[in-house]
Structure formats: structure tokens, C-alpha cells
């Protein structure tokens, strides 16, 4: 068997080892590759910056723990950005993991009080409600009865100052949702955007990004932040480099590996095809 044929039939474990090397090396020795700012992160930054003072924001972690490495950096960056603004933040989710991720992970590394935000007055964590789209519809109709108690103190939701004038979707100005599947953007659009005209911006994992394109073009979705690379750009824009910036060199190297392997595979294919014919 020639060298090219051997390469075509190489044990896949050597490819796995290459993937480990291409990812671990830039994490251990950061390469400092430049990160050009692109249109998605600029639009996202603008969308968050343009939230008017006094707005009511629904902040929703609609992802599973499996998606934490990709979505958690954009969640924490956006939350910290929102905390610098004068708006009311209501954290609510329809994925069981989302509530746990927000409470157990984000809040353990991050204290909104340091931004001068008072729980119950400037922000509140309502937790999780099962039922996917039906729950999102119930939430739009009657927020207080859908989440009768808050997640952190387990006190009646209606007793908090922030919820005094917020009862239905009509009282909400914008939804900031981070999602990795269903329920997600389709459900938000069907139950909030279409009936009540609530503005929606969505941070999503890369696999969901192609599906956002029609909603972005039609204007139903105001902004979209797809994946780790865009999150790194956003972290640089808000001057808060963190997890995404730390990982973006590894993104570059891993993508370089994929490109090289695909090209090599095709070169080998055409070379052996010519030989066979």
C-alpha cells in the first residue's frame, strides 16, 4: 500500500490525538491571535446598549448543561453588560438546566450587588417552569401565577417591588435568550413576539445559528450572537475579556486542523482515484 493509501486508511485515533494537540497547545501557550470584530457581535453590543433606561428585560438561560462551554461565556458577558444599565431584569427559564446553571454557576462567580443592583428591586430570579411552549404562553399571560415564588428566597413573586407593575408580556420590553434547541426562538416568537410585539435577541450555539437567518432577515429577531467566536468579539467590545477570549485561539487551531484534514483527504482521494482508474 502506498503512503497516500495508508494515509487514507489511517486509524482514526491518530486523528483524535491530533485534535487533542491542536486544542491543548494554544490553551497551554496562548498564541495571542488577533480577533477581528464582525457584524454579529457589533449588532449584539448595539442591541444591548440601545436598551432604554427603565426597560423590563426577560433574561433566559434556555440551554442544557451540555452547552455550557459555548453559551455560558455569552450569558455571563451579557448579564454583566445588562447590570451596567438602568433596567429591570427578570431571570426566567423553561429549561430545567438553565435555572440551575444560573443559580449554581453564574451567581457563584458573579455578584450583581457589586453593580449596585438590589435583588427584588432591580432584578429577580424566577427559576424554571416545565411545559415548554405551553409554559411560555402561560408566562406571557400571567407572570406572577406561572412563577408564584422566586427561585432564590422562595418568597411570593408578587411581594417583590420589581414585580409591582409587571404582570404580563405587555409590560416587558425585550427578551434576551440564550438557547441551544427547543424550546427556543420559535416558541418565543410564537408566544411573545407575534401576540405582544416583544423585542427578542438570541444568543445561540453554532448548530442553531443557520436556523436564525430567516428571522434575522425578516426583522423578527433583532440580533443574534452565534457561538464562541462572536462571544469573544463581544467580550472585547465590552472590555471584559474572559472565557471566550481565552478559548478563541483554540477555536482557530481546531478549525485549521479541520480545514487541513479535509484538504488532505481530498488530495489523497483524487490521487488514489487517478491511480485506480
Amino acid at each position: 500500500m502506498s503512503f497516500i493509501e495508508k494515509l487514507q486508511n489511517i486509524d482514526r485515533r491518530w486523528l483524535y490525538l491530533l485534535a487533542w494537540i491542536f486544542v491543548l497547545y494554544p490553551l497551554i501557550n496562548p498564541l495571542g491571535l488577533p480577533v477581528p470584530i464582525q457584524k454579529e457581535s457589533t449588532a449584539w453590543n448595539k442591541a444591548v446598549n440601545d436598551i432604554p433606561d427603565g426597560s423590563v428585560v426577560i433574561f433566559s438561560c434556555m440551554f442544557s448543561i451540555a452547552s455550557i462551554p459555548e453559551l455560558y461565556p455569552m450569558t455571563i458577558a451579557t448579564f454583566s453588560h445588562l447590570l451596567t444599565k438602568n433596567c429591570k431584569i427578570i431571570v426566567a427559564t423553561f429549561w430545567a438546566d438553565g435555572a440551575l446553571v444560573f443559580d449554581q454557576t453564574l451567581l457563584k462567580q458573579f455578584d450583581p450587588a457589586k453593580y449596585g443592583k438590589v435583588y427584588g428591586k432591580d432584578w429577580i430570579d424566577l427559576g424554571y417552569v416545565p411545559g415548554a411552549e405551553t409554559a411560555m404562553r402561560a408566562f406571557a399571560d400571567d407572570m406572577v401565577n406561572t412563577f408564584p415564588k422566586d427561585y432564590i428566597n422562595s418568597q411570593p413573586t408578587g411581594s417583590y417591588e420589581i414585580m409591582k407593575n409587571i404582570k404580563t408580556a405587555k409590560d416587558v420590553d425585550i427578551i434576551v435568550s440564550f438557547e441551544s434547541g427547543t424550546p427556543g426562538v420559535g416558541e418565543w416568537l410564537r408566544q411573545w413576539n407575534t401576540p405582544y410585539g416583544t423585542k427578542l435577541i438570541v444568543g445561540c450555539s453554532g448548530v442553531s445559528a443557520p436556523g436564525m437567518a430567516p428571522y434575522l432577515q425578516s426583522g423578527q429577531l433583532s440580533a443574534n450572537l452565534p457561538g464562541l467566536t462572536s462571544t469573544a468579539e463581544y467580550e472585547l467590545l465590552i472590555k471584559r475579556p474572559a472565557l471566550a477570549v481565552a478559548g478563541v485561539d483554540a477555536v482557530s487551531m481546531s478549525h485549521l486542523l479541520v480545514v487541513l484534514l479535509v484538504i488532505l483527504g481530498n488530495v489523497g482521494y483524487f490521487a488514489t482515484r487517478g491511480r485506480k482508474s
Binding site: R12, L15, Y16, L18, A19, L33, P34, V35, P36, Q38, K39, S64, I65, A66, S67, I68, P69, L100, D103, Q104, T105, V129, P130, G131, T134, R137, A138, D141, D142, N145, T146, P195, G206, A209, P210, G211, A213, P214, L216, Q217, G227, T229, A232, V248, V251, S252, M253, S254, H255, L256, L257, V258, V259, L261, V262, I263, L264, G265, N266, Y269
Partner: protein
């Protein structure tokens, strides 16, 4: 009596009633001067809240099924029965630790056992299971991604351009890559997904009409009936 209750028409009728209860008030509303709430609308609202309770109580189905399957394996000392013990033990511990009643026992989402298992075992496991796909995708791209014909070549070229446009290494070096990648995302990808979105909407309506006519019974299968 039992034969009457077994009839498939009962669940079909229930489906139709609950579907129409949600749809009709959305399109037929009236408001009077005294601001009396549309009774159908409030019925739909309270039903959507009520249904959430029914959904929530179904959670034990998974636990019971798991215990049934793996319990049988342990009982019969089937293949890999010792792994089934791990499955049963972790499931039972997590279920009991997470139950929010009685309050006095300190169980629930803030229970130390629950939070330890969730943060330090389940989180890494769940993330890693999906992370292994990165390797499989790399191997698949090397072995199968071939420019065998025009269509495959288009997929290959578009795929490579999108891979490169997501990597700052390429977009910083050759900005044109991002421009082309963005065009592929905004135009052909958008066209494909718009067609899929419209098709999905029509599919959902077709499914709903079939369900309302009682012709869609896939969700009612099972049980040997």
C-alpha cells in the same frame, strides 16, 4: 363499561377540545365597556396553567422505566449487570436528594448531595458526552468529505469557507473569507432555512388539521391496543 372507556374516540375528543380551547379565543375576542374578560380566553389561560401541573407530575415515568429495565438486568444478572447497579444507585440518590418535600429533611435543589452531584458529576459528564462529537466530526470530515460531484463540491467549499470564517486566524489574515462566509450564511443558507421554516409551518398546520379530524393517531399508539 370498560369497553366504552377503551374507545380511541375519548382521547381524540380530548385532544380536539383542548386544541380548540387554545385556538378559538385567540381569534375571537370581545371586550365590553365593563371590561369583562372573555370567558373562553380566561378558560384557555387557566387551562394552560393547569396543564403545566399535569406535565410536571409525569416526571416519574422516566425514573420508573429506568428502574424497571435496569432492575430486571440486575435481577437476572444480565450482561453488564454491575453497571446497572451504578445506574440504579445514581438515579435513586439523585431523585431522593432532589425532592423538595418534606422541607424539614433539607432535600431539594439546594441539598448538598444534589448540588455536588449536579455540579461535579452530571455537568462534566453531560458536557463531555457532547464534546466527544468534535472528534467524530473531525474523523468524518477527513474520511467522507469528498468532492465527488458538483453538489458535494458545493457542500465542501461552502463548509470549508464557513469553518474558516468562524476562525479568527483566517478572518484576520484574509478578511475576504469572512465576507464570503457571511454571504453564504445570509443568502443561500437563509433561503434554505426560510423554505424549511415555511414548510415546517405548513406541516404543523397539516398535522393539527389531521389531529382535529381524528386521523392523526400516532401519539396514541402503544399498549398492544
Amino acid at each position: 363499561m370498560s369497553n366504552v372507556l377503551r374507545r380511541i374516540e375519548i382521547p381524540i375528543a380530548l385532544t380536539i377540545i383542548f386544541t380548540l380551547l387554545q385556538v378559538i379565543p385567540y381569534y375571537f375576542r370581545w371586550e365590553s365597556d365593563t371590561k369583562l374578560v372573555d370567558p373562553l380566553d380566561s378558560a384557555a389561560g387557566i387551562t394552560s396553567q393547569w396543564v403545566l401541573l399535569v406535565v410536571a407530575w409525569s416526571i416519574f415515568i422516566g425514573v420508573i422505566s429506568l428502574i424497571q429495565v435496569h432492575g430486571k438486568t440486575v435481577q437476572k444478572r444480565g450482561k453488564g449487570w454491575y453497571y446497572s447497579i451504578i445506574v440504579l444507585a445514581t438515579c435513586i440518590v439523585m431523585t431522593i436528594a432532589g425532592l423538595p418535600f418534606p422541607k424539614e429533611l433539607g432535600l431539594g435543589i439546594n441539598n448538598p448531595v444534589y448540588t455536588f452531584l449536579f455540579n461535579n458529576v452530571q455537568s462534566p459528564l453531560s458536557a463531555t458526552v457532547f464534546a466527544t462529537i468534535a472528534f467524530f466530526i473531525t474523523s468524518a470530515a477527513y474520511r467522507s468529505f469528498r468532492a465527488k460531484n458538483i453538489e458535494a463540491t458545493i457542500v465542501l467549499v461552502a463548509g470549508l469557507l464557513l469553518v474558516m470564517s468562524n476562525a479568527p486566524l483566517f478572518t484576520a489574515t484574509v478578511p475576504l473569507i469572512k465576507t464570503i462566509g457571511q454571504w453564504i450564511y445570509d443568502i443561500p443558507n437563509m433561503a434554505t432555512n426560510r423554505a424549511v421554516t415555511i414548510g415546517a409551518a405548513l406541516g404543523l398546520v397539516a398535522l393539527a388539521v389531521r389531529t382535529l379530524l381524528g386521523r392523526e393517531r400516532g401519539y396514541l399508539r402503544g399498549g398492544g391496543d
